[in-house]
């Protein structure tokens, strides 16, 4: 690989957002945003799936693990699923995944589910910009920094009573 293989994370931190878009609504919408020349933040990387129902929570975790600072899930509006109900399955998983991530100390804003219809190019633009801004505020996701209380808020960096070189907060 070339040397410039990763974004400089620095004063101008560029969030890395993986977007899983369903082929029929949200992917088409982002095509429409393109054909309509709606410019928006360049931080998302769209991965096309046929239906939001194909989005396995494992993908979301893998993305975060591999360095994504956020994950955006996009599907058809309720009732509009090209496959009748895939988006509802996505919704069900998302609701539970949210609970898990919160418990593990991952901020709400980092994983987002949006219903975006084929005609809503402007929503792709709006949602993307919004999310990029939110995550810019949160800063990069550093999994090593996550010890949590069960209620999910990140634990304060512990003043280690046992002064030894290797110690740090558990993650």
């Amino acid at each position: 690989m070339p040397d410039d293989v990763s974004l400089p994370i620095a004063e101008d931190f560029q969030p890395r957002i993986i977007a899983f878009f369903c082929n029929w609504c949200t992917y088409t919408a982002s095509d429409l945003a393109g054909t309509s020349r709606m410019t928006y933040a360049p931080n998302t990387r769209v991965i096309r799936v046929m239906c939001s129902g194909r989005i396995d929570p494992q993908f979301v975790l893998a993305a975060l693990r591999k360095g994504a600072d956020g994950v955006l899930l996009g599907g058809c509006h309720p009732g509009d699923c090209h496959y009748q109900a895939g988006n509802y399955k996505c919704l069900r998983r998302f609701r539970l995944l949210k609970r898990l991530l919160t418990q593990l100390g991952i901020e709400e804003e980092r994983v987002r589910l949006e219903w975006i219809a084929a005609s809503e190019g402007d929503r792709v633009q709006k949602v993307t910009n919004e999310m990029v801004e939110q995550i810019r505020k949160l800063g990069p996701l550093r999994l090593e920094k996550i010890p949590t209380h069960p209620n999910g808020e990140a634990a304060p960096a512990p003043a280690e009573p046992m002064a030894t070189a290797t110690e740090g907060a558990v993650s």
Binding site: M1, P2, V5, S6, L7, Q14, R16, I18, W24, C25, Y27, T28, S30, D31, A33, G34, T35, R37, M38, T39, Y40, P42, R45, V46, I47, R48, V49, M50, C51, G53, R54, I55, D56, P57, Q58, F59, A62, A63, K66, G67, A68, G79, D80, H82, Y83, Q84, A85, G86, K89, R93, A117, A118, S119, E120, Q125
Partner: protein, 669 residues
């Protein structure tokens, strides 16, 4: 544990083609550096950039490399796969490379067209290319499935679009189901008196086609019927149609109207406004929308009929009907049909003039809409073709206002396309029938098609006065004696640059076209998309004007956007042709993105079974595992994402492929 990645046996030789798309991509994305980046990626044998990858030379370039460099995988970084995936798949297939060894990277719609900063755009493009390259490692040479297509076609909407499309298909020997919700076919065109620019009588050109439809052996004409539900997929739709109770035995009724005469609802106030005459007249409980109604069959309005409402009525109609066609016990009938293709031609809804209070429609008796004038000047209309004001007098001065509800941010920003010509037609008709002095108030005169400008000239020569300016208000507040008892049109004449007050006897509002009120519902039923203003969305504005994002469903007429009759008919023809080529082909090729179960891994936990909306998954009681019926699977992948064993897999979207894509984009984000 670590997931074992089944790496492909043969050595990967990947070719990457970065498309400039003229300047569309190249102006934002540094295609050369993207090419060089790609060239350094693992397994990439060759990386090139090219002006138009989709052009013949572009495709030949790829084919040449496949043959000469022995490429076994191809990445095309260009536009959306929605657009050209097939193009490049075919190009590769032609030289013997499996079409499914092609991977698109969408660096136009998703990058160059939406990114401001060229440096970041290039970055994004590179990461998408990297992902595409990695993903390909797990591509498989799949077989495209062929599914037989049902030969019949469903056409929804019996306006001129639906009628025209039906006849073309029927004449081509296809069986057509034409479903119309009104008691008669004909749509808005049937309400018109004349049609621009030739001014031939609408009825004269329409009614023959209507009766052709009625009499055509291949056409099942179902009026007073609505589509309830649509299931299935292209080539094999299952459609449920509700045939509303007419309370008339259609096969017996000859349209003699004796029953109408006999109906006890005599007095006007108990009768209801006549839909066909847009409320300018009233009708009884049993009625025939208009003389040439097709079918020539009356209908009983259950909201009006005493017998049906209260259960007691003299039933004079029953006596009157010699053919005993009246049947109060009729009830809605639900019919299920199988069709291979569907054409949606549900038309438009005229703009509701009342919404623009300052034009005084509904407030001033003599403010009319174009549609009302059509009826008034029509020989079979409420006044038998006499153009009279409400007080029965003939107008001496009339004003026709253009762009009512169109090109107006407050209502509809779009141009309704037909109103300019319609307004000119109005001017002509009013002059012709009353000799009145006519003013046309326009914003821009749009007469862009064949014979239209000539028509404009003709109207000019007829002495119609044209005032350029958006009308501010129609008022009855007289400032001078000559304005007394008149309607005053206040407008800024932008050609002269003065504000004018023009007193008239009659105001005609050239109302625009809007999506049907229930367009959203139709969109849901048929699983198609709407544009922002609510008209149905075509697959591509230029290359797929009558297709939708749902294969096998096509659009005709104003439901896709405002159109006049010539354009509507042309589009109906196009839609018919598309439908015909689908059903005539006899089969559809299904993207082989179906799911399958790895028997070695499936534990038979049954999780996937209820998740399939198509009932494609069942339990094999022998093997005690799940099995997927490939014919029923539509490839949504929901079961795959839910399988707790990773036993369910989806072709073209395997876990490996998606994980690779994730790592790919992040390896260079």
């Amino acid at each position: 544990m670590i997931m074992e990645k089944k790496s492909p046996q043969e050595e990967l030789r990947i070719g990457v083609y970065v498309c400039h798309c003229g300047a569309n991509i190249a102006s934002k994305v540094d295609v050369e550096s993207t090419r060089d980046f790609a060239a350094k990626l693992p397994h990439v044998t060759v990386a090139r950039d090219y002006k138009f990858a989709c052009s013949d030379p572009g495709q030949e370039l790829i084919q040449k490399d496949i043959k000469e460099l022995g490429l076994n995988r191809v990445v095309v970084a260009s536009c959306s796969p929605q657009l050209h995936e097939k193009t490049f798949r075919n190009a590769c297939a032609d030289v013997g490379l499996s079409p499914f060894y092609v991977q698109m990277a969408n660096i136009r719609e998703h990058v160059s067209w939406v990114t401001e900063d060229p440096e970041l755009a290039t970055r994004k493009a590179k990461s998408l290319v990297a992902a595409a390259v990695r993903r390909l490692a797990f591509a498989a040479p799949l077989e495209t499935k062929r599914v037989p297509v049902h030969p019949d076609v469903l056409i929804v909407g019996g306006g001129i679009a639906g009628i025209h499309a039906s006849l073309i298909l029927a004449n081509a020997g296809r069986k057509v189901f034409l479903v119309e919700r009104e008691p008669t076919i004909g749509g808005h065109m049937a309400q018109f008196d004349k049609t621009f620019p030739t001014m031939d009588c609408a009825a004269c050109i329409l009614t023959p086609k209507m009766s052709d439809v009625k009499n055509h052996p291949n056409i099942m004409m179902w009026t007073y019927s609505e589509v309830e539900e649509v299931a299935g997929f292209t080539g094999n739709f299952k459609v449920t149609v509700r045939r509303k109770a007419r309370y008339i035995k259609e096969e017996l009724c000859v349209g003699c109207n004796d029953c109408v005469e006999a109906c006890v609802l005599k007095k006007d106030r108990v009768q209801v406004p006549d839909e066909f005459n847009v409320g300018l007249s009233r009708r009884k409980a049993v009625y025939m929308p208009f003389p040439q109604s097709t079918p020539a069959c009356v209908v009983i309005d259950p909201e009006q009929c005493l017998q049906l409402m209260k259960g007691k009525c003299a039933q004079t109609c029953v006596e009157a009907c010699e053919r005993a066609a009246i049947d109060f016990d009729q009830s809605d009938e639900i019919v299920e049909i199988d069709v291979g293709a569907i054409i949606i031609a549900t038309g438009y809804k005229p703009f509701e003039a009342r919404r623009i209070a300052e034009y005084g429609y509904g407030k001033f008796a003599n403010v009319y809409t174009t549609l009302e004038i059509e009826r008034l000047v029509n020989a079979s209309g409420p006044t038998g073709g006499e153009l009279r004001l409400r007080d029965g007098t003939t107008p001496k001065v009339a004003g026709v206002i253009h762009c009512v509800g169109s090109r107006d941010r407050r209502y509809n920003p779009y141009c309704s396309n037909v109103c300019c010509m319609g307004a000119l037609k109005m001017a002509h008709l009013i002059k012709e029938r009353t000799g009145a002095e006519v003013f046309n108030f326009y914003v821009d005169m749009r007469t862009a098609f064949k014979g239209y400008e000539e028509f404009y000239d003709q109207i000019l020569s007829e002495g119609v006065q044209f005032v350029r300016g958006r009308v501010a208000e129609v008022t009855d507040w007289a400032m001078t004696d000559e304005e007394k008892g008149k309607l005053v049109i206040r407008v800024e004449d932008t050609l002269v640059g003065v504000a004018r007050r023009i007193p008239v006897d009659m105001v005609v509002l050239a109302i625009g076209l809007e999506p049907q009120a229930d367009a959203g519902e139709i969109q849901r039923k048929f699983n198609i998309s709407c544009s922002n203003e609510g008209f149905f969305l075509e697959r591509h504005p230029k290359l797929g004007p009558v297709s939708t994002f749902t294969d096998g469903i096509f659009l005709a007429g104003a439901c896709q956007g405002p159109k006049d009759i010539p354009e509507t008919v042309a589009q109906a023809g196009a839609a018919a042709a598309e439908a015909l080529c689908l059903v005539d082909k006899g089969f559809v090729e299904i993207e082989p993105n179906t799911a399958w179960i790895d028997e070695e891994v499936c534990s038979g936990c049954k999780t996937c079974i209820p998740l399939c909306p198509f009932k494609a998954i069942s339990r094999d009681e022998e093997k005690r595992i799940a099995v997927i019926n490939e014919a029923l699977c539509k490839g949504c992948g929901t079961c795959v994402a839910a399988c707790p064993s990773g036993a369910a897999q989806q072709n073209l979207f395997t876990d490996e492929q998606i994980y690779e894509e994730i790592e790919g984009v992040l390896s260079y984000a």
